[in-house]
């Protein structure tokens, strides 16, 4: 396997990490006002993601940095091309990050309610836009002979792109609900489990439509297999939810999201950004990549440090493994 393929795979791994981890905290954020009926419930919901959401978000920073380092042309074309979409995404992430950290720092109903809306919107918009972005990357966008994107924001908002956005959004909502079922207690837990199934059924239909459409456009044997596995694990997650095996349900939805990313990346390979203008203008793992020297150094760094990161992030989840209670903690400030 050449270095370019290794880095294509590593970037897929980073996106898997991001979508699986930030996926559930986006889901919890989107559901904050839907499932959280009162202050204590909302606080409990936020406590389930509180210790980990920031670490989850770093996955996207590393994915972005790794794309810059390994495939500068991909990074440059993508980020300058999807300009306004990324701006909206950044605004969402900024507002959300501040909202999660600030909402409990002042004991005032208006203050909290505003931040709660900000958390919900700031989770909804990026979840949707990541889906739109990935659908468009896979389907191909207008790129000229100089590797420049020639479309605009509306180019991205095509039916396939929007379906991709909806799919990722719904996957994250289901994933978040399943996570809340796993991490909370009492009535909140029951409602989260019920919601996970209801949204999950819709998600399954939408996701199958999206993955099917993806295969129609870019079928490769591997990506078809992965698409089927994605659907299988997601259905498995819903089945586990029905029989109240919350741990398995979460593993199932996590695996489904991970496999969905794998499906998209295998459909993409060896392109990184196919051109809809002319296939000859497509960005591939070869014409977009850094030198072998840089990729070798990056590989060494990644091989040494990624396991360490996984180890201590895993430890965090172990430390906070207990369910969060909605018992009346005295709300002082």
């Amino acid at each position: 396997m050449d270095l370019q393929t290794i880095w294509f795979a590593l970037i897929a791994v980073l996106w898997i990490g991001y979508f699986v981890l930030e996926g559930f905290d986006f889901g919890v954020g989107i559901l904050l006002l839907v499932l959280g009926r009162n202050e204590r419930e909302r606080r409990a919901m936020l406590r389930t993601i509180g210790p980990v959401w920031d670490g989850n978000e770093v996955w996207v920073l590393v994915a972005g940095g790794a794309t810059f380092a390994a495939f500068p042309e991909w990074y440059a074309t993508l980020f300058s091309g999807f300009y306004l979409a990324l701006f909206l995404l950044l605004v969402g992430l900024i507002v959300r990050g501040v909202a999660i950290e600030y909402r409990n720092k002042h004991e005032d109903v208006t203050w909290r309610t505003r931040w709660d809306v900000a958390i919900a919107l700031g989770s909804f918009v990026p979840a949707l836009l990541w889906g739109v972005a990935f659908a468009n990357i896979v389907a191909g966008v207008p790129i000229d002979a100089h590797k420049q994107f020639t479309g605009n924001l509306l180019t991205l908002l095509n039916p396939f792109g929007l379906l991709g956005g909806l799919t990722i959004l719904l996957l994250f909502v289901t994933h978040g609900a399943v996570f809340l079922g796993l991490k909370t207690e009492g009535d909140l837990r029951e409602r989260a489990n019920r919601l996970a199934l209801r949204v999950g059924v819709v998600t399954a239909v939408v996701a199958v439509a999206f993955l099917g459409w993806t295969e129609v456009q870019r079928a490769t044997p591997a990506s078809i297999v992965f698409a089927v596995l994605t659907a299988g694990s997601f259905v498995g997650a819903l089945a586990a939810n029905v029989v109240r095996r919350e741990g398995w349900a979460f593993i199932g939805s996590a695996v489904a999201i991970g496999l969905a990313v794998v499906t998209l990346f295998t459909a993409l390979y060896p392109n990184v950004m196919p051109s809809s203008t002319d296939p000859a203008f497509s960005l591939t793992i070869h014409n977009a990549s850094s030198t072998d020297y840089t990729l070798t150094i990056m590989t060494v760094v990644a091989v040494i440090f990624t396991p360490i990161v996984l180890l201590y992030q895993g430890w965090t989840y172990w430390v906070f493994r207990k369910r969060v209670s909605v018992a009346p903690v005295s709300v002082q400030r």
């Binding site: 920031d54 810059f68 300009y83 950044l90 992430l93 150094i297 990056m298 760094v301």
Partner: protein, 462 residues
């Protein structure tokens, strides 16, 4: 304004704004770790309360540092895609490595610190804040190494066929002497900023009307903060001096612009203040220290310092016809005011120490000083970056790529303008929220000791 101008404005606004939070994030993480260490070692509840007080302020600040940092990584690709294509082989790696080595460390262990009060053994919990602090310092070094490569590119070769710069020696980039001196100067400035923040807040608490509660604790903090400022200020001067000499060798034009020195002089004097036409033709009034510029630039009081006009001729001969001069008034004043603001902060801290000697309490004037003190280093830091980045113009990578050719060809002025206004408004609103929140917490004073160590919901806000 063109898309280029707007992209430059956007970079300046978002970067200077981001860097208001970065120094306090780094410095306060170490400071809070120190306070918590004092608590773990002595068991004195005062230190626990101080840990929680400054810990809260640290977290309020940290949140904005994190979210504004995301923009930094994205905008190289969004607004500077030609730059990204040209240098990605070299410049991308530090960004990826910063995320992998530093951001994961900071965010994960800070999460453990915030929520781990009742879940982790005392010493393990203490370790989490120290690891967070180390993470912030690692992050600082890596990103400064990336910036230093733009100031003084090393370890690369230009590949004409590929039309880009390519990495040849990774260690040369990481151990770039520019990066080492820049990190030295930045990290001590970070502690100066933190000391000023702590001293200002503690002094204000100490002197405000009816603010006698917890006076001993705040008195101690005012002194500690002031000492940190004074010691850091000496180190800032020393490291700044080393950095100036390296800069004079590597970017002589920047040093000449810093002094608005148009003609080569030997020895060269340093003007503290000049009124005159800045094109160098006429000087109306100037306060000058003889030989100082020679010493700052070369380490020799009689050293030769080259002027802008000579350097312009040299660079034109080397790189082809063009204007290689940065905008001198901006370089001149940002350099001076940076030094001035830092010096003022040091003087204020010295005065605090003098006025608090042997149990004395300073008078009302100290209240105003305490309010101004935290802002002085913030201003100095911003001016330092303005100087560093504007002084490098017209280059985006010194001697290798012009700023003009680094901008994204796809971005229209309308789009770039839209996002610039968008970020500016959003950042402005967040600044108001942040300052209000900080003030509310400072007014509330030290939190009670008994709540800490119980439910984290009481401990740190959830």
């Amino acid at each position: 304004m063109s898309a280029l101008d707007l992209a430059r404005w956007q970079f300046a606004i978002t970067t200077v704004y981001h860097f208001l939070f970065v120094p306090l994030t780094i410095g306060l993480s170490f400071f809070v770790a120190g306070l918590q260490t004092a608590w773990v070692r002595t068991g004195d509840a005062k230190y626990l309360r101080l840990t929680r007080f400054f810990g809260e302020l640290f977290l309020i600040n940290f949140a904005l540092g994190v979210v504004t940092g995301i923009v930094q990584e994205f905008q190289f690709g969004m607004n500077w895609s030609s730059y990204s294509r040209f240098v990605g082989d070299i410049f991308g790696a530090p960004l990826a490595i910063e995320g992998l080595l530093a951001f994961f460390l900071e965010s994960t262990f800070l999460g453990l610190w915030i929520f781990g009060w009742d879940r982790l053994p005392k010493k393990v919990h203490l370790a989490t804040i120290w690891i967070t602090a180390v993470g912030t310092a690692i992050s600082a070094y890596i990103i400064l190494a990336a910036n230093s490569w733009m100031q003084h590119p090393v370890g690369y070769e230009f590949n004409a066929a590929a039309g880009r710069a390519e990495l040849k020696d990774f260690l040369a980039v990481v151990l770039n002497d520019t990066a080492i001196v820049t990190f030295g100067h930045t990290i001590v400035a970070v502690f100066l900023t933190t000391g000023a923040f702590v001293a200002g807040i503690a002094m204000w608490r100490l002197l405000r009307r009816g603010g006698q509660e917890d006076a001993p604790a705040f008195r101690g903090m005012a002194k500690a903060g002031a000492w940190i400022v004074v010691v850091s200020a000496v180190l800032v001067l020393a490291t700044g001096d080393v950095q100036s000499k390296v800069m004079t060798q590597q970017q002589p034009m920047k040093m000449a612009a810093a002094e608005a020195l148009y003609n080569t002089e030997q020895p060269a004097s340093f003007s503290i203040f000049t009124i005159g036409s800045l094109d160098g033709s006429k000087e109306v009034f100037s306060i000058r220290i003889p030989n100082l510029l020679s010493f700052l630039a070369t380490g020799d009081v009689n050293g030769k310092v080259e002027g802008i006009n000579d350097l312009q001729a040299q660079e034109a001969a080397k790189y082809g016809p063009g204007d290689y001069r940065p905008y001198a008034p901006l370089a001149y004043w940002s350099y001076r005011l940076m030094i001035g603001m830092g010096t003022l902060a040091a003087l204020a801290a010295l005065w605090f120490l003098w006025a608090m000697r042997r149990g004395r309490t300073p008078g009302r004037l100290a209240v105003t000083t305490a309010i101004a003190l935290p802002f002085l280093p913030l201003l100095a830091n911003s001016l330092g970056w303005v100087f560093t980045e504007f002084g490098r113009q017209p280059w985006i990578v010194f001697g290798l790529m012009s700023t003009e050719s680094g901008v994204s060809p796809t971005g229209s002025a309308l789009e770039v303008g839209l996002t610039m206004v968008g970020f500016t408004l959003l950042y402005g609103a967040l600044a108001v929220v942040e300052v209000r929140l900080l003030l509310r917490r400072i007014r509330a004073g030290l939190p009670p000791a008994e709540a800490a160590g119980l439910e984290p919901s009481l401990a740190l806000g959830y």
